[in-house]
């Protein structure tokens, strides 16, 4: 596969899941096991293709687009079908093929009421194409379509396979995101008309840097901000997230945390920053302040949660706060850290949601007080995994969570593009509060572990037969568990891939 010419590979990888979903329609709904296996095969083949693509990727030129397809699509409105992948996209693209594969494996054993694997897995495949597409689309219209495409399957996944309040949660998720995306679309339109390039091309618009006046950019950035900040979600636009996560089925939560949230931060980095650098610069302190509020506030909320899954959901608010702090730093180190934090959060929190799902499978509750401790004694392997992933999530060095958090704080101390001259003191304060957030994070995770894992099992569970980690779970989880360690020990795996791409991005912003 030659990265210069093999654009087909990217298109094929992108379309495989949808094709699989269509093919799945042909299988009769009663063939439950066949359907589940078929989904594993489809996602597995797609993942293998992406793995091959990752291997063929030219890391010496990770700053440039590779595997490009760029053809006219809707000439009437100048929209083009422009796909490509660079060092920024690659890790996220990889993740959006790994997690559905693992989810499909997991689903061979676990599927919540009302079953119906055909519908469930079909939606998941559709979702996969949507989310993977956002990371490789280089045309604003195409990006927008993928962005919106993601909503529908997730809406049905939460609405049909969700918990007791699924109707509320799914509608809230759908409408809230849609609400933001409208403003984003308006901004896209404004950029299109203001630029005068008659182009929706992200690369061209980025190179044009400085479309319109500062005022124009500020307003346009505001629109994109609403779209992406809701998706991230940034404080105070986060309230859909705990509801969606709490109600979503396990696989839905894994993909939501693992990939969907990343679309927001990716959008900031790929679209909002390079196309509207002046607007971004004006917004940066606001982003920073909201990010750090999110870190501290999200951690505080975690301390008050009684439901394990809701706690993990709120922890995302804090972790994504670190990602946004990196973006607010407006320098290379910050963008690097933000993207690293993205990947790390996807892997770690995705894994945490798997664990929360399996916890529910065993205890049939996620209430910390009802579980009442002693899990490490009852199902020791499972308890060890929970400890391991929680420790990774609280940012222990040597595991994946550390580099994004530390990097964001490190970058924010000396923000780029002249921000340090005007806002140096503010950013120092942000770093301090973000660091305090890490203590709170450690606090709620350790407290959770203490109440769930440690001690002796309560009477209620002492005699209960609970399965320790099952084989299918080992298979589905092992890649994530290994990645958590690998990314922690070799941060170069992500930093190195992104480096040239981030440099190129910042250069176009004039940094």
């Amino acid at each position: 596969m030659d990265p210069n010419t093999a654009g087909w590979a990217l298109v094929a990888a992108l379309l495989l899941p949808v094709a699989g979903a269509v093919a799945m329609l042909l299988i009769p709904a009663e063939a439950d096991r066949t359907i589940r296996r078929f989904a594993v095969v489809v996602t597995g083949v797609a993942f293998a293709l992406v793995a091959a693509l990752t291997a063929a990727f030219d890391y010496g030129r990770s700053g440039e687009l590779q595997f490009v397809t760029d053809v006219p699509w809707i000439p009437a409105i100048d929209a083009r079908f422009h796909l490509g992948i660079d060092g920024i996209s690659l890790p996220l693209f990889f993740l959006s093929f790994l997690l559905p594969f693992l989810s499909a494996i997991y689903t061979t054993k676990h599927l919540p009421e009302p079953g119906k694997p055909k519908a469930f897995l079909g939606l998941m495949l559709l979702l996969q194409t949507g989310m993977a597409g956002t990371f490789v689309a280089f045309d604003l219209i195409l990006f927008f379509i993928f962005f919106e495409l993601v909503l529908v399957p997730m809406f049905f996944m939460i609405g049909m396979w969700g918990g007791p309040r699924r109707d509320y949660a799914s509608v809230k998720f759908f409408l809230y995101t849609l609400f933001g995306s409208i403003f984003m679309l308006v901004s896209f339109l404004a950029v299109y008309f203001q630029s005068g390039l008659r182009s929706w091309d992200i690369v061209e618009l980025s190179q044009a840097a400085g479309i319109g006046s500062v005022t124009f950019q500020t307003w346009a950035f505001l629109g994109m901000f609403l779209g992406f900040a809701i998706k991230v979600p940034m404080w105070p636009f986060h309230t859909w997230l705990p509801d969606a996560h709490t109600e979503a089925p396990t696989v839905g939560s894994v993909l939501l945390a693992g990939v969907l949230l990343k679309i927001g931060t990716y959008g900031f980095i790929r679209i909002a920053l390079p196309i509207l650098p002046d607007g971004a610069l004006r917004f940066a302190p606001v982003l920073g302040v909201l990010a750090v509020i999110g870190i501290v506030y999200g951690s505080l909320c975690c301390l008050a949660q009684t439901d394990v899954k809701r706690l993990i959901a709120f922890s995302s608010v804090g972790h994504m706060g670190f990602v946004m702090l990196g973006i607010a730093a407006m320098n290379e180190a910050g963008i690097q850290a933000a993207l690293f934090g993205n990947i790390a959060h996807g892997v770690i929190t995705g894994m945490l949601f798997f664990l929360a799902g399996s916890l529910h499978e065993r205890y049939h509750t996620r209430d910390i007080a009802v579980i009442g401790g002693g899990m490490l004694m009852k199902i020791p392997r499972y308890g060890v995994l929970l400890t391991y992933v929680a420790v990774a999530s609280l940012g222990l060095p040597g595991l994946a969570g550390f580099w994004g958090e530390f990097g964001a704080m490190w970058a924010a101390i000396s923000p780029g593009l002249g921000l340090s001259d005007t806002y140096g003191g503010l950013y120092l304060g942000l770093v301090v509060f973000a660091a305090i957030g890490t203590v709170l994070t450690a606090g709620y995770f350790l407290w959770m572990l203490q109440r769930v894992n440690l001690g002796r099992p309560s009477e209620k569970w002492a005699a209960a037969e609970l399965d320790d980690v099952m084989r299918v779970e080992w298979v589905a989880w092992a890649p994530l568990l290994l990645l958590i360690l690998a990314l922690g020990v070799f941060p170069r795996l992500v930093f190195g891939v992104q480096d040239a791409a981030v440099t190129a991005l910042l250069r176009s912003m004039g940094g």
Binding site: P397, F402, I413, A435, T438, A442, W447, G496
Partner: protein, 715 residues
Amino acid sequence: MESVLALAWLVPVLPLASAAVVAATGKRLPWGGAEVGILSVGAALALSAAIAWETFTNPGETLERAFAWSPLGGGFVLELGMLVDGLTAMMFLLVTLVSLMVHVYSRGYMEGEARFTYYYAMLSLFTFSMLLLVISNNTLQAVVGWELVGLCSFLLIGFYWEEKSNQDAANKAFLTTKFGDVGLIVGVIVLSAGMLGLSDTPFNFGETIDAAVSGELATGTIVLGMLLIFVGCISKSGQMPLHVWLPDAMAGPTPVSALIHAATMVTAGVFLLARLFPVLAQSALVMGVIAVVGILTLFFGGLLALVQDDIKKILAYSTISQLGYMVAAIGVGGYTASIFHLFTHGFFKALLFLGAGSLIHAVHSNDISAMGGLRRPMPVTFWTFTIGSLALAGFPMTAGFFSKDEILVSGDLWALNGFATGTYVYWVGIAAAFVTTFYMARAWFLIFTGEHRGAPHAADAHGGHGADHDAQADAHADAHHAAPNESGRWMLVPLVVLAVLSLTAGLIGSPFLQDEPNFEAWTATEVIEGTTYPFLAEYAAGAGVVAAEKGPSAKILHGPPTWHLDLLGIVLAAFAGAVLLAWRLYGKGLPDEDPTLRMGPLSRALVAKYGFDAAGYRYVVVPVRDRLSAWATRVSNDVIDGVVGGTGAAAKRLAGVTYATVDQGIIDGGVNGAAFSAAWWSARLRRIQSGDVQRYAGALVAGVVLLVLAFVAIR
């Protein structure tokens, strides 16, 4: 041939490999993984000894190797590297030696424990983490080691995680140190931010130190960065007021207390201060703050040991106090003295803890009031513990004597430069030495002399939760157990080795070794030798005291140690006085009411631990955990989500109103209205068509009349 220093990377890697092998295969090995741990740490010790010898005999020999671990963005590079000099070699030797002793000792002490293999994996992992910190050539790698050390500490404090008190102790340790790490991390960030324009590897120790010494690093950066890093040291090295986790950490198995909470991990803060000494030496303010914290800790931390009956807590508070000496020494320019004390303290404190473990093993209690008369049944423990106590008390010619005196002398020299902190270190240090001797003598008399009391204390004032789990369980199992016996060989050999070191390790830094190589030359780096205190000239001259050039202390190194007979006299008098006092009070067995509890308000303050623990819980933990968190959740659920929900509801209501009023009422009303009015009129008009001819005729006439009238009117 390449120097042995090039192999230094193996020193941390060996225990790491051991941790992995033990975790993977330990349960299937005949000794449950202990053999792997002992062998690999033994190998690491052998290598460390070779490195120590190499650097000791060739003072100043340094090797720095690093490779780019990862790009960080903006062209900056994070290194994974090693910096091997005398300081590193000294720490290597200390850590691997104590670790090996603990590995060996635990083979006996932890025998029969359910999680024996896990324990050994953690011991090895801890050893690796500490060595990773020690070997690192940059601050960020040091942070990685530092935090991993904290994790291992957390896991081992909570080793007996069935009990809530142990879980709480582990959480307290992790969170308190993590709180300090806010300072460390922000401090490291601040320092490296100052280096951004100067280097591609902004975390590098050597480059940071060079930039600080040459004045390229802004003073503000140095002061802010070092003060913040010092906050990390306060929590890690048990300085007041963040020392509160250390006594609770005694919930872990006793060998762990020896390794982690006495000899090595808690020295991480002091080590980092030593590593960055030329940086902090640029600022009188930073040194002053460090000195004050150290002085307060060495004195008030030591006092707390007076009212403890738990042998491990006595030792824990003594650790806090001794760490205070080291930190204070850093603050008064006693670079060599500080790390020398770190070195000797590691041996005798490990010895004391392991000795305490031997005692606890024999009597199944941590409580010294349950001991007594143990001299005869446990002779080896008795003699080694006595040696350790003497070293801790600073009895002449023991290891602790030479290093503690060096600290006091450093204070004296600093005072010559016109800093009051120097004077305080000298006199408070002597006073604290008196206190140290007294509480160790108290413990010694109560443990070894008189009759064996043995009775388990039901109503222990300090709550027996610090007691080892196994000791507790055993005590419950057989309240009337057999007479205490000496421990087995696995435990005694380390005691003897450490006892020998407690007697002799001080000699390399003593006045007996005037010529190089000695301890000072060993641990001095080139920068340390060349650096002077830039603030000294103006400060000292301004204060109108001894001019800088008159005293020897303008330089960091004080030269070979000399005898100070005046100090020796004072120290001996203090020692004798303290032992005599302890003998009078405790020589005849346990008094009915402990005299240390009869000191009025002082006793009350000490028993309450000065209120730090309670205040921390009441004013930090509870408000954050219970109130702020609930408040934040309420804001999220009610206020923010209220806005979201309100927007949704408003949109819905607007839709309802739109539908009901505008759509159904006005628009559709218009449509319907048109239809409706047509029907109304048609109903009315229908009546006209009644088929009644007379009425038609009448209407016709009326119509004609109206038309005629209208016509006339218009005309």
